[in-house]
């Protein structure tokens, strides 16, 4: 019993490793050893890895082929364009909503109605209104990330201690000073939580967006591969999406820590 407890409290790296080994062996066990009826068409982890790292892959795409990286590049550009839009427009709207009572009252119910609409449901209108292929894809990826950013930024502004505004005012701050030295830094912790969520949502929505793209991108190829029963490819692309999302999250946290040195100081002071 204590041995299990010790293992559970192991250093993070070993804990993560143990978790992965457990997951992949269960996967292998379910698909290869047990071969349950519903699982028998799912490739086991070994054949996915083999296909992924093959120099001459069965279905033409692996770590050593160019199309793989072209797909990644397409998806990254689309996702980051959508994310950038969510940051610029979402943070701006969130701050304005948090700052102006009137604007908040006008827009908050609308935001709350639009926010739960799934990205997939936006596809018809996006295709109808926006020209070309790329714009609708980016829009569908953008939309849910945008609302997550708005809401978190709004909460961030509302979370700022009222005394900070009073103190700033009595120290002679003009609205511009208050925006840049109180509102923005004060809501930054919430904004960055929102951005991590938004980035996750963007990577989830890109798949929906790329169905309409009809060419290139990880999401598109997942559907393409599924139609051709190339499930190794499907899983390999799923994991690629997962990795890209993970790395993006880490990058946001890193930037956030750089910008919020005081939060780090607070954690250490405790």
């Amino acid at each position: 019993m204590t041995r299990i407890k010790n293992l559970a409290a192991a250093p993070t790296f070993y804990a993560a490793l143990a978790g992965m080994i457990l997951f992949f062996s269960s996967w292998y066990f379910l698909t290869e050893t047990l071969t349950l009826p519903r699982f028998k068409n799912i490739p086991d982890p070994l054949s996915v890895v083999t296909e992924w790292s093959a120099i001459h892959p069965k279905y033409g795409v692996s770590l050593f082929t160019k199309p793989y990286y072209v797909d990644i590049l397409y998806s990254i550009i689309r996702t980051y364009a959508a994310f950038a839009g969510a940051v610029v427009f979402g943070v701006s709207l969130g701050i304005v909503m948090g700052w102006s009572r009137i604007l908040h009252n006008y827009t908050f119910p609308l935001v709350e109605i639009f926010r739960p609409m799934p990205p997939l449901s936006w596809i018809p209108l996006a295709v109808l209104v926006l020209p070309g292929i790329e714009l609708p894809v980016v829009f569908v990826t953008f939309i849910a990330a945008f609302f997550a950013t708005v809401l978190n930024t709004l909460l961030g502004v509302q979370s700022i201690n009222r005394d900070y505004f009073l103190a700033a005012k009595c120290l002679g701050a003009k609205p511009r000073d208050i925006l840049f030295h109180v509102v923005i830094p004060g809501s930054l912790p919430f904004i960055f939580t929102g951005l991590q969520i938004a980035m996750g949502i963007a990577w989830m929505s890109i798949v929906a967006g790329e169905i309409i793209a009809g060419q290139r991108g990880l999401g598109y190829y997942i559907y393409e591969a599924a139609a051709l029963f190339q499930y190794e490819q499907v899983i390999m692309y799923m994991f690629t999406l997962g990795f890209l999302g993970y790395v993006s999250s880490v990058a946001i946290r890193y930037v956030g820590n750089l910008l919020m040195a005081w939060e780090e100081a607070k954690r250490k002071a405790r």
Binding site: L166, A168, C170, L171, G172, P185, W262
Partner: protein
């Protein structure tokens, strides 16, 4: 060093009334209040929660305007916040995202002073409060007492006519609190900066004040104005003197009455003052 504030900061409240709304009910908060805060003196405001201390501070600071009557500082009507009247808040309102230096430099920066002057003023005031070695730290990295000193510095650097301290040492442990009282008194003795000091602690009030003003529970009126003619500079031993005890005994009765009124009205926050009074009377 902070310069002598000469005879600036004469605040006069003339017939000031203020209402506010609670659950859509209009409540009279300050009732025709006339108070004078003499320049170069330390005036302490006391009273139970609900006596309108906070409203009064908001009015003098210019965050709110009175319903009737007028408030003037050195003869000029107060209409909006300004850095001639600086508020130091309960707990701390230092910006946690700025270093101590940037917190203190905030006022001068907002005023648009030259970079060189800002640096000079800020560094000199930080030296006055003994935080020159901590200027690059964030507020959370400082102890409670240091945070209060940083906050005083942030206000003082603007050379205000009057300092408004709203229970500034609340939440500090007893030891630090006494040290901070002594620290502020020393600063006050050097600068004679007009000060309005709000507190719940009678000992703190008498130890620091030239005048203690006691307000009544809802609506806030002046219940009593107590002069404290104890000699300055003061040392903690003063609390053993007969004059101190006389003032203490005169005041505690009245305060207790007002606090009791608040308590009977179920104002839970009045427990604060009752407890602190009880502790005091047990001691004496």
């Amino acid at each position: 060093m902070v310069e002598k504030a000469a005879d600036k900061g004469h605040v006069v409240l003339n017939n000031v009334s203020k209402c506010f709304f609670e659950d859509e009910k209009k409540i009279l908060c300050l009732d025709q209040l006339s108070i004078e805060i003499p320049p170069g003196q330390l005036t302490v405001l006391m009273g139970p929660s609900g006596c309108g201390k906070t409203s009064m501070i908001n009015l003098i600071a210019g965050y709110e305007t009175p319903d009737t009557g007028s408030i003037t500082i050195d003869g000029e009507k107060i209409t909006e916040p300004g850095h001639d009247r600086l508020v130091v808040f309960q707990e701390t309102a230092l910006f946690p995202w700025m270093t101590v230096f940037n917190n203190v430099a905030f006022g001068p920066k907002a005023k648009g002073l030259a970079e060189k002057d800002i640096k000079e003023k800020t560094e000199s005031i930080l030296e006055t409060v003994g935080l020159q070695d901590f200027q690059d730290k964030y507020p959370t990295q400082l102890s409670g007492g240091m945070q209060r000193r940083a906050e005083l510095a942030r206000a003082l650097v603007n050379e205000p006519s009057v300092m408004i301290l709203d229970e500034p040492f609340r939440g500090l442990d007893a030891m630090t609190r006494e040290l901070m009282q002594e620290f502020y008194l020393k600063l006050f003795d050097e600068t004679k900066i007009t000060t309005l000091f709000v507190t719940h602690e009678l000992e703190e009030a008498i130890f620091m004040a030239d005048t203690v003003i006691i307000l009544t529970y809802k609506p806030g009126r002046v219940r009593k104005v107590v002069k404290v003619p104890l000699e300055r500079p003061r040392h903690f031993s003063v609390s053993a003197s007969k004059e101190y005890m006389d003032i203490f005994n005169d005041t505690i009765e009245i305060l207790f009455e007002e606090a009791k009124k608040a308590f009977d009205h179920d104002d839970a926050s009045s427990l604060d003052i009752i407890q602190s009074l009880k502790r005091n009377s047990d001691d004496s």
